[in-house]
């Protein structure tokens, strides 16, 4: 059953990055758009994201529940050492959620839209940056395992783990990945007016993601960050990086030509590869601290708990996945299911 639980952990992470990521990215795209394009984007994302908006973000709740139920020690270290960026990320999630609803459900469209839009844009940018910083913090090797008996320096224990250049680079990389995902998704959803806009934005975003990815890895390598060395010294991850590089060409081609289904598939493949490259060489030691690594499987919940959780996830999955699929289909979100028009 532990493999079922691990599968769902990975699956939720993947879907949160893909769906939640595209959702965050939409706000970032809007932020970096001219006023006319902002209007087009706002209209498009309401149409495209609106129906699935809430569902996109529940993956993070599933993720966190799996962590605390099955991997309680891992979860505890994470939430304790990264308390501050997690709180800031939650602030972003809260503001973004309410801004999205307020701007579409306010009874009057007036000056207050400016405030909602501003809040939506800014929180769309900072939330994925903090999400990336949280992940960066977990692997940058700066977490100090906190014990009750030894009082620690506040800065060392609660600031350094996440407030460092590497972690910030990971945050920027994740935000750019979200923007990239969103632009690619919107290519296939936009009307005539928006179509060339997203093709152009997707091209720019692809270049930025590649550059930021390279900088992050290079910085980590030069600064001897254990996490990056783990990647660069592992055959599988090097192989996957090469695969990812090879897939850049068809990605670029399909984005440039605005082929909506194929571009989405290639974008999805890139995300799957990025997550696998980052996690596979380190699994199960997915938390790198100053004084060693912490395995995800250390002090894992007892078998009775894992079994029940695995069954709950399977049952929940059976309920949710077809429903979600039907929702996407009903609102023509999965264009794979209908004839191509572009």
């Amino acid at each position: 059953m532990i493999s079922v639980v691990l599968f769902f952990l990975f699956f939720s992470l993947l879907l949160y990055v893909l769906l939640g990521g595209a959702d965050f990215g939409a706000g970032i795209l809007e932020l970096f758009s001219s006023e006319d394009n902002q209007k087009i984007t706002k209209k498009t994302i309401y149409r495209v994201m609106g129906p699935v908006w809430e569902a996109n973000h529940i993956w993070v709740i599933i993720l966190i529940v799996i962590l605390w139920v099955a991997f309680p020690l891992y979860y505890k270290v994470m939430v304790t050492s990264l308390h501050i960026p997690i709180t800031l990320m939650l602030l972003g999630i809260t503001l973004r959620g309410v801004a999205f609803v307020f701007r579409h459900y306010d009874a009057y469209v007036d000056e207050s839209q400016r405030v909602y839009n501003w809040l939506f844009h800014v929180s769309s940018l900072i939330t994925p940056i903090f999400l990336g910083m949280i992940f960066g913090g977990m692997v940058s090797g700066k977490i100090v395992l906190i014990t009750k008996d030894v009082p620690l320096d506040f800065v060392e224990a609660y600031i350094h783990p996440w407030f460092n250049i590497f972690s910030f680079l990971v945050g920027l990389f994740f935000a750019s990945l979200c923007t990239f995902l969103s632009a690619v998704l919107l290519i296939g959803e936009a009307d005539e007016e928006g179509y060339p806009v997203y093709v152009r934005k997707a091209k720019i975003a692809t270049i930025i993601v590649v550059i930021l990815g390279f900088i992050t890895i290079a910085y980590g390598y030069v600064m001897s960050i254990q996490f990056v060395h783990g990647i660069t010294s592992h055959n599988v991850s090097i192989g996957l990086i090469l695969v990812s590089a090879a897939f850049l060409y068809p990605l670029w081609y399909t984005v440039k030509k605005g082929i909506r289904i194929a571009s989405r598939i290639f974008a999805g493949i890139q995300v799957l590869l990025i997550i696998t490259v980052a996690l596979y060489p380190h699994y199960p030691s997915l938390l790198i601290t100053k004084n060693g690594t912490l395995s995800l499987l250390e002090k894992v919940a007892p078998e009775s708990v894992i079994n029940v959780l695995g069954i709950s996830l399977l049952v929940g999955g059976l309920l949710i996945v077809p429903g979600l699929f039907h929702l996407l289909k009903s609102f023509k979100m999965i264009k794979i299911l209908e004839k191509q028009t572009h």
């Binding site: 605390w68 959620g97 307020f102 708990v305």
Partner: protein
């Protein structure tokens, strides 16, 4: 402020906020589908307009409830990591099922909000029902997790270790049913009276009378039925608490001396130093009867519990009095509504009738918050009753007080904004004629 106090205040503050939004988001879909059904049956455009107006309310409250719920699911770990490390695996089941229910709700809400004229009308209406049912299911599951904190079960506690964990037994802990029943009824009462009160106020202002009267009737019917049933659930809860958490019961009643044939105190000022209650009304033998079904039963007083195990008596006692007092008032108001609707229809044309309900609009939520204060403060100093103390569960990170301030500012602004948005919704509802759909 000490870290522990700051963490407790932050938790209390975020819960108080979340509960209001979650309850409205959980109950309002039912009003919406009733109105929707009436529209499908009668074709009266007033019902369509009402359904669409309520749907906007549902969307706003659902999302505000959802984001504050996301924040809470992290806060449990951020503030109480020691608690989550041990309790997480045991009460993981209600939370993982709640995640599933919440997911179903979000999917169904996606269908409902965006499904107008896009999906078959009957299926569209049905997705609204799913929103309501999934919402109530997640409410019940979350309360079950809280029930476990009051009645920990499904594990053996040996030498500070949690062994032989049985998540199903933990989910179905002895407190889950009474608490969930009490909470669901409270949610329906509070939301029913709040929504009805807002519409009553609009009727008083003589705006769109037909629409607001229809809205009022739907909301108050739910609220009144729940309010009339609530005392039964309250009685079951009281007997349950008397058995399992006698110290909580004693605090609720500010009952200090162990004795037989104990009276019930109504009101009163608690003097925690002198351990007595002044200016109260006494109903002889009533507490013994309510707690144990026997007028002469012995009720253990606070003096016979270890000093370290006693919660803040004054807070628990006052909160309990407020809850019961308002609960009784709402029950009477519910009976008053049904009686008027049955025998005195002409009262609906009188101002006093609408004034009563407009006045009662916030009452249900005050009672509901007071009820949570009773159960949460009453459980102190334990985070897991008789197993783990709250002070041992708190995060080692100092400076939680700043995070508390952050949440206070954030949620205060949000509350004001949501109230302001609702006013705008009502204003727009009143200013657009029915024919302009």
């Amino acid at each position: 402020m000490e870290n522990l106090d700051a963490a407790r205040l932050q938790m209390a503050f975020t819960l108080i906020f979340h509960i209001v939004f979650a309850c409205i988001g959980m109950v309002m879909p039912f009003f919406m589908v009733v109105s929707h059904k009436k529209w499908l049956n009668t074709g009266n455009p007033v019902y369509l307009k009402l359904t669409k107006a309520w749907q906007k309310g549902v969307a706003i409250f659902f999302v505000t409830g959802a984001v504050s719920g996301t924040a809470l699911s992290f806060e449990l770990g951020l503030l109480w990591p020691e608690f989550m490390e041990h309790a997480g695996p045991i009460i993981g089941m209600p939370f993982s099922l709640e995640g599933a229910a919440f997911f179903v709700e979000a999917i169904a809400l996606g269908f409902y909000l965006y499904g107008w004229n896009k999906i078959p009308p009957k299926f569209h209406w049905f997705t609204g029902i799913i929103v309501g049912i999934a919402g109530v299911a997640s409410g019940i599951l979350v309360v079950s997790a809280n029930g476990w904190m009051n009645a920990p079960s499904g594990f053996d506690y040996v030498d500070g270790k949690f062994l032989n964990i049985d998540p199903v037994k933990a989910l179905l802990n002895p407190a889950w049913f009474t608490q969930a029943l009490h909470m669901v009824l409270a949610a329906f009462t509070a939301t029913g009276f709040a929504v009805a009160g807002i519409h009553a106020f609009q009727i008083l202002r003589n705006k769109q009378k037909e629409l607001h009267q229809k809205a009022f009737k739907i909301a108050i019917t739910f609220g009144a039925i729940a309010a009339i049933l609530q005392p039964i659930s309250g009685d079951i809860s009281a007997k349950d608490v008397a058995q399992r958490q006698p110290v909580k019961l004693a605090a609720m009643e500010a009952h200090y001396e162990t004795s037989k044939g104990v009276p019930l105190y109504i009101g009163g000022i608690v003097d925690q130093e002198k351990k007595e209650v002044n200016y109260k009304i006494e109903i002889p033998n009533a507490l013994s009867f309510l707690a144990f079904g026997d007028f002469n039963a012995e009720v253990k007083g606070l003096n016979d519990f270890p000093k370290d195990d006693i919660p803040n008596v004054a807070i628990v006692h006052y909160a309990f009095q407020i809850m019961v007092g308002i609960g009784g008032l709402l029950m009477l108001a519910g009976i008053f509504f049904f009686f008027s609707n049955w025998k005195k229809k002409h009262w609906f044309d009188k101002k006093f009738f609408w004034k009563v309900f407009a006045f009662l609009a916030p009452a249900g939520f005050i009672a509901l918050e007071a009820g949570w204060i009773v159960t949460e403060v009453g459980r102190q100093p334990w985070i897991i009753h008789k197993i783990m103390r709250t002070k041992d569960a708190v995060t080692p990170m100092p400076g939680i007080v700043y995070s508390f301030y952050l949440y206070v500012v954030l949620y205060t602004i949000l509350t004001i904004t949501v109230a302001w948005l609702l006013r705008r919704q009502i204003k727009s509802l009143n200013s657009t004629p029915i024919s302009s759909l």
